[in-house]
Symmetry: D3
Subunit: 67 residues, 6 copies
Amino acid sequence: MALSARNRLKGVIEEIAWGDVLAHVTIRIGDALVESVITRRSAQELGLKQGDPVTAVVKATEVMIEK
Amino acid sequence: MALSARNRLKGVIEEIAWGDVLAHVTIRIGDALVESVITRRSAQELGLKQGDPVTAVVKATEVMIEK
Amino acid sequence: MALSARNRLKGVIEEIAWGDVLAHVTIRIGDALVESVITRRSAQELGLKQGDPVTAVVKATEVMIEK
Amino acid sequence: MALSARNRLKGVIEEIAWGDVLAHVTIRIGDALVESVITRRSAQELGLKQGDPVTAVVKATEVMIEK
Amino acid sequence: MALSARNRLKGVIEEIAWGDVLAHVTIRIGDALVESVITRRSAQELGLKQGDPVTAVVKATEVMIEK
Amino acid sequence: MALSARNRLKGVIEEIAWGDVLAHVTIRIGDALVESVITRRSAQELGLKQGDPVTAVVKATEVMIEK
């Protein structure tokens, strides 16, 4: 099964800050850090923890460009 | 001036597909490709063209995680 | 592999309107129609066509509530 | 008055988890559950509670497709 | 009926650029211009035209801050 | 440097509600209030406080229209 979202960046979880409804997840991707805010429930159901290999997924319409 | 969006990834424009209202921009960021859909007007006003160094910017709430 | 996006609704593609950069896809889900705008490239790479069984996927932070 | 957002799914609130800034609302829509994260203030001002009939509203550009 | 989206700005349509799948709508709101990209179908079904009084609606999680 | 996001509205911070992971920021823009939910970390790193002049930034694809 494949998803229409065009951006997939592989990395490793560096840190998770757990909130009451959301979790703030920091992912190391090469030299860069990518930060994601997802529901606490998704983070729990995926069993996210520091060191996990994960993929950051972003729909193309959500990406802005700065020049 | 700084923006609250937490994700900033530097790369180089590899390709632009121009539509009537939108533009589909492909950015090479290290080994990965990131794709962005922005308005044609923004792409024109920024003068985007192949080879331009640009930064892809994404709000953290728009990043999903796959594991 | 599982994705953090919490909403997954299974249905069947009823219609696709192809634009130059995007595609507008209508999905029948039970009694309801769900409409999605994705890139033309994703729609092509997924080989989307009328009658295909697909899943509409939405991040929880993108869902509003009317009462 | 009508809104441009193309997706409107009617259901009933099954659960609300209240956070400090946000609320995580689960809506039963037929056989499916749809989850929404909105501001705590909106949830309070709408007076959301278990059993309320509500409509989940999603902009078409926020819907991804998996096949 | 009320919607959870917290931002509602009243204005008047100044221009519409019609694309094949989307429409790019420019709204004058006081001294500012706000631009919206919605589906062509929504713009047609709402009968949008220059001079129409409309409200721009934005979910709070989609608003970034620059300082 | 310029960003592709087409909507930029200048105002002054009227209130900040701090959550564990997010901050809910209310901005006065002329006669209107605009509300933004950003990460707590961004709000801290930008040093946001009541009375600060700021700009609300929104991508055009996130703006809906009501008529």
